[in-house]
């Protein structure tokens, strides 16, 4: 994760202490300008990096080679005045500028004792943009239309769209979605007062801009009303992708009515069902801005009279204001995806957030000898990450040495369970509530089961799960090793080696995929792989998250090697490199 593109020249002056200096620049060839505030990093090539030393001043007393970093100044100058001799990779990064995805884009420096390398020029290219014009149904350019770019991401649960950039069209209908990394994007345009509301909390638009009223149905480039019909826009290099023009269609409008199904009221005096409302948001918008999409409450009925046809998310919210006057909203229902193509009524069960106690234990069967009970290191944390792609929601709780944790105010939803701070050979084998499918390693907090209770605390009453969340750890892992070769039989270095689970009982989680990069002899090692069935393969380009995609993995076919990880170690996993061109064919 890093990068620079050019190392132009340097001068050696061997009679002074070892040091490196230079400038950071940007711009097209022939139009280069100095670039300020670039983070420049020297990473030793043959040593495990220690903590970066500030200001380029490495700790002189230590014999080990450390990483150094410094920011270039207002004139783009950077200097590491005193560094330990050795081989380094020099790299540079700045927000809005290109980050290469492989180490081949970086430059290698070999610095002898008392040697100074001056005049190093590091050139950064600005990240590209997707640009275009948005038109109304009559073909006239539309001002203040909201345009979004979603990056297509591959996950074990399928392709997901993740919001990368949002822009408003200008007075000529033009937009620029900028600072995009390379990848595949879905571009949408929305129009209507409802979608304009989040902007008005950051900028003040022209008073002469007409109200957009109910607007139009959101269009997925080129002209689809559903995400499934979107045409993917590839961003391949630092050049902008232009002419991604979108035209709205005359839209159909429907009425959406929402009924809240409320749970039994909490005891008096406790935060409960007051200030509970509804937000109707376009699918793919950030649920963090849900307050901007609130629907008016007319005597207990939430409705939108004229909603353009399309895909939406409906969620119940509870407003709260803290002692310092900060307004916030808590999600108090499962976010529901709805497709509006006729007048629609939905019922949303309101589920108040509540506390989840739980514990972590070590799997008893076949435990390593000499490990009689779980002794967790300090600083272990349990994390719940929302598993659906509707919003980012994360809860974190400290785990005490006995393995117990307590999560506060968890909103309904399905979450991945993660444990941070474990030794590398320990992984989660099992997690969940006693009544749910624990093999999924997911906590589905739907709370429709009668497994919660009002528990008294000092001040008020809290809702608490009666069914604790149980997490089981395992240490039964295997070392997998082998080599990568090309078709010509030569060993392939810098190949991305992937071990993807194929066992249907293994949970679809990113942490059950194992990757590494082959070394200069083509060899690789993957320690700590849990037992099970996998497919192993090696990709020429490491610039990809496509290996998470189950469709891709099923198309790997004979180019992949089925691997059954059972013994305590598995060697001689010898793979044939899948080239970039082959990869493109499989991905299609």
């Amino acid at each position: 994760m890093t990068w620079i593109l050019a190392l132009l020249f340097w001068l050696a002056a061997p009679q002074t202490p070892a040091g490196v200096s230079g400038v950071t620049i940007t711009g097209r060839a022939g139009e280069e300008t100095l670039l300020s505030s670039v983070r420049v990093r020297l990473t030793p090539e043959f040593a495990i990096p220690a903590a970066p030393a500030a200001g380029g001043a490495g700790p002189a007393a230590r014999a080990t080679v450390v990483a150094y970093e410094v920011d270039s100044d207002a004139d783009g100058n950077f200097a590491f005045p005193s560094i330990a001799p050795g081989r380094y990779v020099i790299s540079a990064e700045k927000e809005g500028y290109f980050r290469g995805e492989t180490s081949t884009a970086s430059a290698h420096l070999n610095i002898a004792e008392r040697q100074t390398l001056d005049g190093i020029t590091l050139k950064l290219s600005a990240l590209p943009a997707i640009t275009g014009i948005v038109y109304g149904p009559g073909g006239r350019p539309l001002t203040a239309s909201t345009v979004r770019a979603y990056r297509v991401q591959f996950t074990p649960r399928g392709r997901q769209l993740s919001l990368s950039s949002t822009a408003l069209t200008n007075e000529r209908g033009e937009y620029r979605l900028f600072h995009l990394s390379t990848g595949s994007y879905v571009v949408t345009a929305s129009y209507g007062d409802r979608w304009l509301r989040p902007w008005t909390s950051t900028i003040r638009l022209s008073e002469n801009l007409p109200s957009q009223d109910d607007g139009y149905s959101t269009v997925y480039y080129t002209s689809s009303l559903t995400s499934a019909g979107a045409t993917v826009v590839p961003v391949v290099d630092e050049n902008d992708t232009s002419n991604i023009n979108i035209t709205f269609r005359d839209s159909r409008y429907f009425k959406l009515s929402i009924q809240l199904i409320t749970p039994p009221a909490p005891p008096p005096g406790c935060p409960g069902l007051e200030n509970v409302g509804v937000a109707v948001m376009p699918r793919g918008s950030d649920l963090g801005s849900a307050l901007d999409y609130r629907v008016e409450n007319h005597q207990g009925i939430f409705s939108v009279d004229r909603l353009p046809e399309g895909e939406y998310i409906v969620v119940a919210l509870r407003d709260s204001v803290d002692g310092q006057g900060k307004r916030s909203a808590t999600i108090v229902s499962d976010p529901q995806e709805i497709k509006i193509a006729k007048d629609t009524e939905v019922k949303i069960p309101v589920i108040l957030p509540f506390d989840v106690p739980g514990s972590i234990t070590l799997a008893s069967l076949g435990a390593r000898s000499g490990v009689p009970s779980l002794a967790l290191p300090r600083g272990v944390q349990l994390q719940l990450i929302r598993a659906d792609n509707l919003m980012n929601q994360i809860y974190l709780a400290n785990v005490d040495p006995g393995g117990n944790f307590y999560l506060k105010d968890v909103s309904p939803g399905t979450y991945d369970v993660l444990v941070h701070g474990l030794p590398p050979d320990v992984f989660i084998s099992d997690a969940g509530f006693s009544t749910s499918n624990r093999r999924l390693i997911q906590a589905t907090i739907d709370f429709t089961r009668p497994s919660r209770d009002w528990i008294g605390t000092e001040k008020c009453l809290n809702l608490t799960s009666r069914d604790p969340l149980r997490v089981t750890l395992s240490t039964m892992s295997v070392m997998v090793s082998g080599t990568v070769s090309g078709y010509d039989g030569r060993k392939a270095m810098n190949a991305l080696v992937v071990l993807a689970p194929t066992d249907p009982t293994v949970p679809a989680r990113k942490d059950r995929f194992f990757t590494t990069v082959s070394d200069s002899t083509g060899a690789f090692q993957l320690p700590n792989v849990p037992r099970g069935m996998y497919v192993a393969y090696a990709l020429e380009s490491a610039d990809s998250d496509i290996y998470f995609d189950s469709v891709f993995n099923s198309h790997i076919g004979p180019k992949g090697l089925p691997v059954n990880v059972v013994a305590s170690s598995l060697s001689n996993v010898n793979l044939t490199l899948i080239t970039v061109n082959e990869l493109k064919n499989i991905a299609r």
Partner: protein, 520 residues
């Protein structure tokens, strides 16, 4: 075709009254009709009707109930217009013509000292705004962010004079860097830190200004130190301090800090230090809750180039009470309210108090500050004759409130207000619709906002003012004037010679015809 957006209808099946008209481009030689113009018809306390014009530029609202309507017209690329229309039973107004003027825009780039475009810089058109007594301040009229090339578009701005300001957003809290990142002070075009040294950019109808480019210069951030305590007890407390640029309309540019609640060696309880601030004028606020009561403080500060220490005293505000007395015939003050408007336009929240049956009123939790007292929704012909706090006149001077209640307020109302009816004409003696008509007292009474009256002309150019305190006045009219701008003596002085002198005697009506003055 754009669908017509019809909301809850004002229509009545039995009435034959209606409004229709057309929208044209004022700058075109042959009255080019404007399509897709959005015409909104509204009436007090009812939902509005909205139509869009077709390619012939025409609009129609049929079958309306008689009454007073407001028509607002907006079209992409043009300055909005509105008019007041009074419809009698079965009256059809088919002659409404809105000639819209092309709106000006301003474009440019924000670049760093080496010419690299700076993305995500907030660029604002900043205008002078006025408080209820004519005090001036600056506020954002329109804003936009630069794109990755540093380019910004501030489009369709109302004509007028603006400062153009570029500001980088504060770095998110918790970002670390081995050396402090470069920071840039808010810069007024073409390149000054202080609006007094900046260019006042004049935007005129139909003219776009481009290449309004900024070259930002790095500046050293300054530190804001201070102490937050409860005014009543002097106790220092830990709470969040929020600092936003004065006149900001959106919360995007916000600095926050925490005062300490317990006592580390170098700081006392209630002390705070905020780093990374830049020179400028800011509103500082804090809140603190103690036993179900919310204490607040709000202060305006100007940061120079050196660090600054600030004392913030939290209070629940005080009670401002008094009596409204009527001489002569006693009118029902049912919906009238006493309002206290902060004199400084950067303090946005007015305080209101209802008037009881016996004339008593009490405003609760009024924060310290200088206020202008005004009575809202007074019945016709009734005006404020005097207002005092104890013996101090609070019409010609602001009411100063600190942490304890001011002396009781006495407001004397009189029912013998005069009336003026008139017509605004343009230079060719045609009725001028929607002009702002201001009745200003002669210069000896201009320090009292209660002596001023403001209205707008209707679509036949007519206007009417009631409840005027007897005296000598000057009548002014403008096509557009900012709220309270006429309270600024310097502004009014520029137009002194164009004012029409009128004398209003108690309980009498007068008529006046005033010609619209172009040039504003």
């Amino acid at each position: 075709m754009m669908p017509l957006c019809l909301f809850v209808l004002l229509q009545s099946a039995v009435s034959g009254a209606g409004i229709s008209g057309s929208i044209i481009d004022a700058g075109s030689p042959f009255n080019q009709p404007l399509d897709f113009a959005r015409v909104e018809l509204s009436q007090d306390s009812r939902s509005s009707l909205v139509v869009r014009t077709g390619i012939d530029g025409k609009f129609l609202f049929p079958q309306l109930v008689p009454g007073r309507y407001r028509l607002s017209v907006k079209r992409e690329g043009f300055i909005r217009k509105s008019a007041t229309v009074v419809l009698a039973a079965n009256q059809r107004r088919n002659d409404l013509l809105f000639a819209l003027d092309a709106a000006p825009s301003i474009f440019g780039h924000v670049r760093d000292p080496h010419g690299v475009g700076m993305p995500n810089v907030l660029v604002e058109a900043v205008e002078v705004v006025y408080g209820p007594r004519g005090d001036r301040s600056l506020a954002t009229a329109q804003s936009a962010f630069t794109d990755d090339r540093g380019e910004y578009h501030l489009y369709w701005i109302d004509p007028g004079e603006y400062y153009i300001r570029a500001s980088t957003l504060p770095a998110p809290a918790g970002t670390t860097a081995s050396t402090p990142p470069l920071s840039f002070a808010p810069t007024y075009f073409p390149g000054s830190r202080d609006p007094r040294d900046a260019a006042l950019v004049r935007l005129e109808l139909g003219f776009n200004l481009s290449a309004f480019d900024f070259k930002m210069q790095p500046s050293t951030p300054i530190e804001l130190r201070g102490h937050v305590s409860i005014e009543a007890t002097g106790e220092g407390v830990g709470t969040t301090i929020t600092v936003v640029p004065a006149g900001a309309v959106a919360s995007i540019q916000k600095f926050t800090g925490m005062s300490v609640s317990n006592v580390p060696p170098s700081l006392a309880a209630g002390d705070f230090v905020m780093q990374g601030m830049q020179p400028g004028t800011y509103m500082v606020s804090a809140q603190y809750s103690v036993s179900q009561e919310t204490l607040t403080v709000r202060k305006k500060i100007t940061l120079g180039t050196s660090e600054r220490s600030l004392i913030l005293q939290l209070s629940a505000g005080t009670t401002v009470s008094g009596l409204v007395e009527q001489s002569g015939a006693v009118a029902n003050l049912g919906s009238a309210r006493v309002a206290l408007f902060p004199v400084d336009p950067d303090f946005p929240f007015p305080q209101y108090a209802a008037i009881g049956e016996n004339g008593q009123f009490a405003g609760q939790r009024v924060p310290p500050g200088d206020y202008s007292i005004q009575l809202l929704n007074l019945p016709d012909d009734i005006y404020v004759k005097s207002a005092r706090s104890g013996d101090v006149d609070i019409l010609s001077k602001p009411l100063r409130i600190d942490w304890s209640p001011p002396l009781p307020i006495t407001v004397d109302l009189a029912a013998d207000g005069g009336r003026i009816e008139g017509t605004v004409l343009d230079r060719s003696n045609h009725p001028f619709s929607d002009a702002v008509v201001v009745l200003a007292p002669d210069s000896s009474r201009r320090n009292s906002p209660e002596q001023f009256r403001v209205t707008r002309s209707e679509d036949d150019g007519r206007f009417s003012l009631r409840g005027i305190p007897p005296g000598v006045y000057k009548l002014f009219t403008w096509q557009n004037v900012k709220p309270n701008q006429y309270m600024d003596p310097a502004f009014l002085q520029r137009f002194e010679l164009t004012g029409l002198t009128v004398e209003v005697t108690a309980g009498n009506s007068g008529t006046a015809t005033i010609t619209f003055q172009p040039g504003n």
